[in-house]
């Protein structure tokens, strides 16, 4: 089973960074306001129906409408509005350009993740997993390759849509190292329900180490062992859609598999990543995630699936 990345306590109320935290405070305040007003209305209704005549006569005039229906809401709403606008302003402060930048592209039905260098060049390709340094704002450049998607990691921030033809920016920040679940929140057809990802926050040094490791692996890739899985992977045409650095596989349609072995999940955040699930995914992805763009390679015998999974599992 996939490790539970959310659930109880609800991630919206369990913030892991400053942007989500401010909204959590607001959420509790709104929740209290809602309870209070519902209570007032229910009590007023109760008294209006069952109350003693002297209270009823006080309730039964236009004055009550002015107080309860106009003055009271106007005060509450004004307070809320000012708070909301201030908070909106603080959450949408300009981007300095010095932040770590990661490009996330929504595709039917997975997330392409590209780490950008200081000049906006892609320094690392990955999928369905976003690694962030802790304690600093990270700017996500959100795009879409096809239809509208929406990027949401409730522990870290509110959501933002990924819109074809536009480039939207979202700042997130995690103050605690850990793993946080994310999903696509805008209905994007077919298996939209099964389009998730994981955000992983590391301490700054660990994060740099993680990046460096990926670079080292990429550089060392050609020297990797000539395993049978590699041959079968290439023979089966997987390279038409997938890229594995250092091999002839250079397809760009599907997720980059150069580091697939080190990912936490498969199928865009829906399966834990291990040898068995990898075999199962390659052999029968269509019953695990119906409608996804990868055909089931059910024609491959188990030993070939096993070999491919074995080789892919080592691509870290």
């Amino acid at each position: 089973m996939l490790e539970p990345l959310w659930g109880w306590p609800p991630p919206v109320l369990d913030p892991a960074g400053p942007y989500a935290e401010k909204v959590t405070v607001l959420a509790w305040a709104l929740f209290a306001m809602g309870l209070l007003v519902t209570g007032v209305v229910i009590v007023a209704l109760w008294v209006a129906i069952k109350g003693p005549p002297w209270i009823k006569s006080k309730l039964g005039g236009e004055k009550v409408v002015w107080i309860g229906g106009v003055a009271f809401p106007a005060v509450v709403l004004t307070i809320l509005l000012v708070w909301g606008l201030t908070l909106t302003a603080s959450l949408t402060q300009g981007i300095t350009g010095k932040e770590t930048r990661i490009r996330v592209t929504g595709e039917m039905w997975w997330f392409r993740v590209q780490y950008l260098g200081p000049n906006g060049e892609v320094i690392l390709n990955d999928a369905n997993e976003i690694h962030l340094p802790v304690g600093e704002p990270v700017v996500l450049e959100l795009r879409s390759a096809d239809v509208i998607h929406s990027f949401w990691v409730p522990h870290l921030s509110g959501k933002k849509d990924m819109i074809p033809g536009r480039k939207l920016f979202l700042r997130v920040q995690a103050d605690k190292a850990g793993r946080y679940g994310g999903v696509c929140a805008e209905y994007c057809g077919g298996p939209h329900a099964l389009m998730g990802f994981v955000a992983v926050a590391h301490e700054r040094a660990a994060w740099e180490g993680w990046l460096a490791e990926r670079h080292a692996a990429q550089a060392a890739a050609p020297a990797g062992p000539a395993m049978p899985g590699r041959r079968i992977f290439l023979e089966s045409g997987c390279g038409a859609c997938h890229r594995v650095a250092g091999t002839e596989a250079n397809g760009l349609i599907g997720p980059d598999l150069t580091h697939v072995g080190s990912r936490l999940t498969l199928g865009a955040g829906i399966l834990p990543n291990n040898h068995g699930t990898l075999m199962g995914w390659i052999g029968d992805s269509q019953s695990i995630k119906p409608g996804n763009r990868m055909p089931s390679y059910s024609m491959l015998p188990a030993e070939k699936l096993d070999a491919i999974a074995d080789w892919l599992g080592r691509q870290k």
Binding site: P10, S57, I67, T88, W152, K159, L168
Partner: protein, 847 residues
């Protein structure tokens, strides 16, 4: 009170008239208003029947969409279930939302209006009974076809707001999306028809003396409702047209690679979509205000505040649409504005809630099923409204947008704000259409099951949303804490369904449709719909002196039934009603009303065939159906403008008023104006789309054709306008009873021809300038505007031909003629609008 029309208010003192009426008048009314029997019932146009059919059809769609919801709840009862396959589930939630919003909620409130308004206003019928019949049949046939798409797996699956590019031809190549556009097309037709009917009905057919200040609250709500439809629906009409054009002809309105923008759809959709929520809610609030007064047995507290709240809601609701788009990264200022407006709209809602509470406090409640539903609705609507306030807070919205929190919010608002009042109304007004009252004992069970079911279903969903469950998911992963909450919601859905099933049992046992021997005023309401009625409504049309005339004048029922008020008989031997002035409801003239006819239903069926065959790409049958539908409409209009020999009629108390006049006082003039407002709004939204796309992708814009050509087009349109006016002049120059010659209709033909010429010049001019509709957002919007103008030109040509035919038959009677008046004003309008459509894109400096 100052007289509005010159009508002498002292004449009101004549009523109730004391002299007895001659025998046989009621029998004659019964004969005139008798409904056809057997299959002939299909041709019925009277509001008692059409209104009832309409409510029944809307309720049928409510049940069908409810069954879809149960299917979805079974699928979500546990994680990774396979009860509904993914594709089917996606069709289910799309159809559930679409049917509930478009085929149930809007038609249901409209239907209740058509059923109740004439009686509430003591009119004999609504002013355009055949239009109602047409709208109903088009809606029923179209809606059933639309629903049937589920059975062949072709139902739309893009969600009820159908965002492109998911719904564009690239990502939805099947005809599923076209079915959605088809279904929406019907509801657009019936909503607009209903709006015309209701605006004119409420403003012009009220009982004498029923000033705006004495109008039942439901009539106020329906007036605001209808005006909102006129403003809001054009936006979605345009949106659906653009999406269909993009799908069929590849014009890139929403394609960012060619200068379109997916967000244009969202603006067009939500400019309609959010007001639509209030379009649904306001009539229900109007019903609530009336029922609250009756169950508390006291007049509504804060009548004028309530009217103000209705109007204010209507206004503000047009400024909140983009709160559905906070996550699309709008500028901070816009977000602030839409946030503030979204909060402001809760003020009028608060006014209404407290008016109801104050009314309950000032009276003494008599518990009954409607009372339970009314009180339950106040609680539920308040809860839904509060989550709405929360959603207006931008940062909070970013978190819960598109999650189950939204699902919970919208169901509280819609069930609490519309469905519960509707059930209350079913019980409360059942006595008007059924021989027997519904069971009070079962009714209490119905209420408690529905109330419990609703809360058990939707209360947990707030939390499911907080826990990260997005909406529109056909399944969810285990071990995320969502299992128990979802199972609870499923159980709740079945409790809710049990309540509705029990209501159906109650209906089966007790509901017996009747137009004459109804169960009557069970709950003791004080408004005019509780007068004794037949198919002709009330025997005589009462003089209204207060807001609850039946409470204030205990003799009124008897006086009305004995014919002691206005129009105690049929003055002309035909169907007729009194048209009164819009503010003070002073009697102005007698309108003759059409009776049963097969042509509205035939026109509706062929309209349905027309759209359906377009959808399934049977183009030749589409052309055939289109022609038959047009001929049916013309045939039905043929009888509406008959020359009549009597020019005045006595309406009781010795008062005489004229019969069927033309000009600004006529109800037809008001109806055409409403239609022109709708057409003008569509054009306005089209121009907005044009400018919007320039703002997003100016790089694909090219220079417009030269100014000389533009001036020439404007000149031709001016000539079209003048020739239409000249036609009316020529007709007015002839005396009554003489033949006006061929001049008047030929001038309208000239006008229509000039319109066509200007359009041709316009289109070829842009083509010569190098603009192509498929190439860019500019091309797509310019040619879409011109295509829209083309539709107007086609209608103008048909109208001018029809006028010629009538002229040949000697029906073009000078000095004033309703048909000619309509044609002239339509051509005049088309030339003015054509000028705006043509000039703006040509003069706009963006080139």
């Amino acid at each position: 009170m100052k007289s509005e029309t010159g009508f002498d208010h002292a004449l009101y003192d004549l009523f109730p008239v004391r002299e007895p009426r001659p025998e046989g008048e009621v029998e004659e009314l019964n004969r005139i208003w008798a409904a056809p029997r057997g299959w002939g019932l299909m041709t019925v146009v009277n509001n008692n029947y059409i209104g009832f059919f309409y409510v029944a059809a809307a309720f049928l769609f409510f049940l069908l969409a409810g069954i879809l919801a149960l299917g979805m709840r079974i699928q979500l009862a546990a994680p990774l279930q396979e009860f509904l396959p993914q594709g089917t589930y996606n069709q289910f939630f799309t159809m559930h939302g679409t049917i509930m919003m478009f085929l149930f909620a809007v038609p249901a409130v409209e239907a209740i209006g058509i059923l109740l308004l004439p009686q509430m206003l003591a009119a004999r019928d609504l002013p355009f009974p055949r239009l109602s019949a047409y709208a109903f049949w088009a809606y029923l046939v179209g809606g059933l076809f639309f629903f049937a798409s589920l059975f062949v797996g072709l139902a739309p699956d893009g969600g009820w707001f159908m965002y492109p590019p998911l719904t564009s031809i690239t990502y939805s190549p099947g005809i599923n999306t076209d079915f959605w556009l088809l279904g929406i097309g019907f509801i657009e037709i019936s909503a607009i028809a209903g709006a015309v009917e209701i605006i004119v009905g409420v403003l012009r057919t009220r009982a004498p003396g029923m000033t705006l200040d004495r109008m039942p609250m439901f009539a106020w709500a329906m007036l605001v409702f209808a005006v909102m439809i006129v403003i809001a629906f054009p936006s979605v009409i345009l949106g659906t047209l653009l999406l269909e054009i993009e799908r069929a002809f590849n014009w890139p309105f929403f394609d960012p690679t060619r200068g379109g923008d997916p967000l244009l759809w969202q603006h067009l959709f939500w400019f309609f979509g959010h007001p639509e929520v209030y379009i649904i809610f306001l009539p229900a609030a109007g019903l609530m205000s009336m029922m609250v007064a009756t169950v508390a047995r006291t007049p509504l507290v804060g009548y004028r505040l309530n009217v103000l709240a209705l109007v204010a809601t209507g206004f503000i609701s047009f400024g909140v649409w983009a709160h559905h788009m906070f996550a699309t990264d709008m500028p901070r200022v816009s977000a602030g504005y839409f946030s503030a407006a979204s909060m402001a709209v809760s003020l009028p809602a608060g006014i209404q809630v407290f008016c109801w509470i104050a009314t309950l406090a000032s009276g003494k409640i008599r518990w009954s099923t409607p009372a339970l539903f009314v009180v339950g609705s106040i609680v539920l609507f308040t809860m839904g409204g509060l989550t709405g306030v929360m959603l207006g807070m931008v940062p909070f919205n970013w978190q819960v947008h598109d999650t189950y929190f939204i699902v919970a919010h919208l169901h509280y608002v819609l069930l609490g704000g519309m469905v519960f009042p509707m059930f209350a109304a079913f019980y409360y007004w059942n006595g008007m259409t059924s021989r027997n009252p519904l069971s009070e004992r079962l009714g209490k069970w119905v209420f408690w099951l529905m109330f419990t079911g609703l809360n058990v279903t939707f209360l947990p969903m707030h939390l499911t949303g907080f826990m990260g469950m997005p909406r529109r998911v056909y399944t969810y992963l285990p071990d995320r804490g969502l299992d128990v909450l979802n199972l609870t919601s499923t159980v709740g859905a079945f409790i809710l369904a049990a309540g509705i099933a029990l209501f159906l049992i109650d209906l089966a046992r007790n509901f017996r449709f009747t137009t004459e021997h109804d169960a009557g005023n069970i709950y003791g309401g004080g408004t005019l719909e509780w007068l004794p009625t037949g198919l002709y409504s009330t025997r005589s049309i009462p003089l209204v002196r207060s807001r609850e005339p039946l409470w204030d004048d205990p003799r009124m029922c008897e006086d009305v039934a004995e014919g002691r008020y206005f129009l105690p008989n049929s003055a002309t031997g035909l169907r007729e009603t009194i048209i009164t002035s819009p503010v003070n409801a002073e009697p102005q003239y007698l309108q003759l009303m059409p009776g049963p006819s097969p042509f509205p239903v035939a026109a509706a069926i062929f309209t349905a065939f027309f759209f359906l065959s377009l959808t399934i790409q049977a183009y030749s049958f589409a052309v055939f159906s289109g022609i038959v539908a047009t001929l049916c409409v013309l045939r039905w209009l043929w009888e509406t403008d008959r020359p009549i020999h009597i020019t005045e009629a006595e309406i009781g108390g010795g008062i005489t008023i004229p019969i069927a006049i033309t000009g600004p006082t006529s109800h037809g003039w008001w109806a055409l104006n409403t239609m022109m407002a709708v057409i003008g709004m569509i054009a306005l939204m089209g121009l907005f789309s044009h400018l919007y796309l320039y703002g997003i992708h100016p790089e694909v814009w090219i220079a417009p054709p030269g100014l000389a050509q533009t001036a020439g087009i404007a000149g031709v349109l001016a000539l079209a306008f003048l020739s239409a006016l000249a036609s009316r002049r020529v007709l007015a120059g002839h005396d009554a009873g003489t033949f006006p010659g061929q001049g008047p209709w030929l001038l309208t033909v000239l006008g229509a021809g000039l319109l066509a010429g200007a359009l041709y010049w316009d289109v070829t001019g842009w083509q010569a300038a190098g603009l192509s509709p498929a190439a860019s957002g500019q091309g797509a919007t310019v040619f879409a505007l011109l295509a829209f103008q083309g539709c107007l030109v086609a209608v103008a040509i048909i109208m001018a031909g029809y006028l010629g035919y009538r002229s040949g038959r000697g029906l073009l009677t000078p000095p004033a003629n309703v048909t000619l008046d309509v044609v002239v004003r339509f051509i005049g309008f088309a030339s003015l609008q054509g000028a705006v459509i043509s000039l703006l894109p040509r003069i706009f400096p963006g080139g």
